[in-house]
Amino acid sequence: MSPRALLRTFSELCITIGTLIVLFVVHLLFWTGIRAQSATDREIDRLEAGWAAEPLEPPAPSRGGGPPPAAPVEYEPGQPFAVMYIPRFGEAWDWPVLQGTGTDTLKKGLGHYASTAVLGAKGNFAVAGHRRTHGDPFKDFPKLRPGDEVVLTDGTTWFTYRIASKPYRTVPSDVGVIEPMPRPLKDEAAAFDEPGRYLTLTTCEPEWGSSHRLVVWAYLDATQSVTDGKPPGLHS
């Protein structure tokens, strides 16, 4: 091989690698978002079609505005079972919640930690979502503030959770945050001091990194049957 051919091959390799890197960035920044958009739309459509086809028995109206009695519920792994709305993230922000937190599941929506409580039940309903890539569902996570609403529906009931803490930055091994009674490593960060019906959201921190996690906690504030219309926190 002549030096000239060597040099040419080397240049071609460099250009190829550069092109690959650019393509990969395009894939991460745009393509995963486009795929997530269609995947989440599909999951929400499936959910709503399922709810329309076989309306679940609406729970008996509870006295005193308390949460309805918890029925034994089981979610199918990888399947959507609820839709989440967070008004702080914008009126158009709606994401399906799927069972499990596997890589493939999180490409289609938010993931419910399979070991945690079911929606509206006593304990902790914990959900993880991407901060970046795959549609950026939790991009604005740091903007969440105490008092913000997290609204979920499972087709029969609207659950309105109210955030109780500012986003708490912690390390990935801080598994206490998703316990039924959240117990973060830092005691002073704990949002609650008695058992109740809680919700936990987790995502990564920093935005493009994985060294830490961001966590917020919320408590169940109100429930209402879907037949009574949307909760006041949701516009239109």
């Binding site: 991460l28 596997g102 930690y113 993880a128 890539t133 598994v175």
Partner: protein, 58 residues
């Protein structure tokens, strides 16, 4: 490398150009469909869960 491919494509310049374009499209398709989804979990953007649970991509 690219010169070698070009010389081994059949036909005149236009046919070769069309075939090259097809090859490029095929490579991009394979990358987006198979290679990048495989490579992505190796990067940290998917780590959104606290440990000890099914784990979104480590």
């Amino acid at each position: 490398m690219y010169g070698w491919i070009w010389r081994h494509l059949p036909g005149n310049v236009w046919v070769r150009a069309a075939l090259s374009l097809l090859l490029v499209l095929a490579v991009v398709y394979v990358l987006f469909q198979y290679v990048f989804p495989w490579a992505e979990p190796l990067l940290p953007f998917g780590d959104v869960t606290v440990d000890g649970e099914g784990g979104a991509a480590r």
